[in-house]
Symmetry: C2
C-alpha cells in the first residue's frame, strides 16, 4: 500500500517476466537464470503482474458464461447485456467473482476518452484487480457519492483511486462525507463550488458502474458504519430494501423519501438515469431484493451478477 506506484523500470521488468512465463512458456527457473534474478523474485514479479493487470486472464465461452440465464435476464428486464458468473464450487467470496467479471467486462467495453461514474463497495474493489492495463487512453473516473471518514476496508476514495490507477484514468473525487449529519449540512456541502463542479461532471457520463447495498444483517452499510443501527431499523420500517449509489428504494423500485436518503450526498437520480450505459454489478442472494428493485426502476441496462442471484431474479 505504501509504494502504490512503483518505478517504471519495475513495470518493465514485470512485463518482461510475465511475457516470458505466459507467452514463451519458460519455467520460472529458466527466467530467473536468463534475467539473472532469484526464483523468488520471479514469483513475486509474476504475482504483481497478475494483480495489477499487466497479465490479464479472462474466461468466457463463445456465448458467454451461462448463456441461458444471461439471455433470460436480458429479456425479462430489458437489459442490453448481462453476465452471469457460474456458482462457485467452493465457498469463496462472491464479490471477488462478480468483481472479476466486472473488470473483464469493463476492459473490453470501455472506449478511449470515456467518462465513468463509479459507485463503491467490495465488488468494485475486486474489479480493479481484473482491469487490463494498456489499451485505453484519456479515461476519467468520477465519484458518484461521498466518502467515509474512517479507514473502512472499502472506502469510495480508495475505490476510486485504485480504479483510476489501474486504468490510467483521471480521478475526480467528491470530497465530502457520504452521509451528512443534517439536511442543512448536506446542502452546504452540495453548494460548495468544488463539490458542485464534480456533480456537474456526473451530468456528462458515458458509463456508470453502480453497486447495490442491501439491508440484510450482513449489509455493508452497517458493516462499514455508513449508517447506525437505528437508522437501519428506521429504513427497514420505511420498506427500504437497499440502495443504489445512495438512492434508497422499496421493493418495487420506487425511491423512498427518508431522512437518511435526504442526507446522502450523491449524484441525483435523474442524472444517473440519463447515462447511456448503466452497469450494475452485484452478487449473492441477499442482494436479490435491492437488485430486483433497481431493475424495476431501470436504474441499469447492464447487469453483472452470479448464478444464484440470477436464478432468484427469474
Amino acid at each position: 500500500m505504501v509504494h502504490e506506484f512503483s518505478d517504471a523500470g519495475e513495470t518493465r521488468l514485470i512485463t518482461r517476466v510475465c511475457w516470458a512465463y505466459y507467452r514463451e512458456g519458460l519455467t520460472q527457473e529458466q527466467i530467473a537464470d536468463r534475467l539473472d534474478l532469484s526464483r523468488k523474485r520471479v514469483i513475486q514479479l509474476l504475482a504483481r503482474g497478475r494483480s495489477n493487470g499487466i497479465v490479464h486472464i479472462s474466461v468466457s465461452g463463445p456465448e458467454g458464461l451461462s448463456p441461458e440465464l444471461e439471455q433470460a435476464l436480458c429479456e425479462r428486464y430489458g437489459l442490453q447485456a448481462s453476465i452471469v458468473t457460474p456458482a462457485p464450487l467452493e465457498g469463496g467470496d462472491i464479490r471477488e467473482l462478480v468483481g472479476a467479471a466486472l473488470g473483464d467486462f469493463l476492459s473490453n467495453h470501455l472506449r478511449n476518452g470515456e467518462r465513468i461514474g463509479l459507485g463503491w463497495g467490495g465488488t468494485i474493489h475486486a474489479a480493479t484487480r481484473s482491469l487490463r492495463q494498456g489499451s485505453l487512453r484519456d479515461l476519467s473516473v468520477v465519484q458518484l457519492l461521498g466518502g467515509l471518514t474512517q479507514r473502512a476496508r472499502f472506502n469510495p476514495f480508495d475505490n476510486l483511486s485504485r480504479f483510476a490507477s489501474a486504468l490510467g484514468a483521471d480521478c475526480n473525487y467528491l470530497p465530502a462525507p457520504m452521509l451528512a449529519d443534517t439536511v442543512e449540512q448536506k446542502d452546504i456541502f452540495s453548494e460548495s463550488p468544488q463539490i458542485a463542479e464534480v456533480m456537474r461532471l456526473t451530468e456528462s457520463l458515458d458509463v456508470t458502474v453502480l453497486t447495490a447495498i442491501d439491508m440484510s444483517e450482513r449489509s455493508g452499510a452497517l458493516e462499514y458504519g455508513v449508517i447506525t443501527k437505528e437508522e437501519w431499523q428506521s429504513l427497514k420500517r420505511a420498506n427500504v430494501v437497499g440502495d443504489i449509489c445512495g438512492h434508497y428504494l422499496d421493493q418495487d423500485g420506487r425511491q423512498v423519501d427518508h431522512s437518511v436518503a435526504r442526507r446522502t450526498l450523491r449524484s441525483p437520480f435523474q442524472t444517473l438515469q440519463n447515462v447511456d450505459r448503466r452497469i450494475l454489478a452485484a452478487g449473492g442472494i441477499h442482494k436479490a431484493e435491492i437488485v430486483r428493485a433497481a431493475l424495476r426502476a431501470k436504474m441499469c441496462n447492464f447487469l453483472i451478477t452470479d448464478e444464484a442471484l440470477a436464478k432468484h431474479l427469474l
Copy 2:
C-alpha cells in the same frame, strides 16, 4: 484435428472448469472432486480451454510491450499503431510469439459486424490460438489469395477455417490455387463467378490481416512448395525481396512485374490499399527486407513484429 467442433456440452464443461481454476483459484484436484471428473480430464479440459480461446491470457504493460520501439516505428513509417514483442529469452518459434500478439490485438481491435481479409502463414496460424472467444458477433472472414493443393502445414484454407471458427465468423473461401500454371489459366479462374464474387467481397473490407513471405532459403514459399526452385531464382534475379499476399515487391516497395506475380490469384493491389486498417504481422530478421518494402509501399498502417525485426527497421 478430427472433431474440430466438439459438442456444446463439452464447451460448457470447459468453461466451467476453466472458471473454477482461473477465477475461483481452486486446484485441479478440488475441481475433479466437485465435478466428479478425473484429474487427468481436468488437465485436458484446461488445456483445451487455453488452446481454443475460452481462456485468454494477455500480457501488456501500461504503454505496450516495448514502448520506445513501438513509438519509433509509428513515427518513422507513419503507422497508426504497432506492437513489438520482446525478444525471446530462449530459442522458440518467433511466429508463435508474433502470432500470439496478433491474436491479442485482434481480439481487442475488431468490432461487431466487421469484414476481415486474411492472408496466410504460420503467424496467422499461431494467432488463431490467441483469439478470445465470445464478445464478437457477425464477423466475416475473406480469403485474400488462393489455396495450395497439397496438405501443407499452413494452408490458406486451413488458416481461414480455424480463424473463422475461433471468432465464430462467416467464412469466404477463395476456391482456387494460389499460383496458376499460366496467366490464361489464372484469368479463367478469376472470371469464374464464384471467385469473382469473393473478390468483390475484398472490395468492402474493414480490416486486412496481411503476412509477409520473404525470399531467404528458409522462406515459406519454398518450404510449402508455393513456387519452384527455378521460379525462386528467377524472382531473386528480378530483385524481388518477398511478397505480401501475392504482391511481389522489390526493396523499395515497388511492385515487380514477373510471371509468378501475374499468375498469382489474389485481391488486387489497389483493393488492398483501399482498406482502412491494414495489419501486417511478421517477425524474424529474415523478413526485414520484405517488411521494409511493405512499409515503404504503405501496404499496412498497423505493424506487429518482434524486437529483432523492429530494431532492424529503425
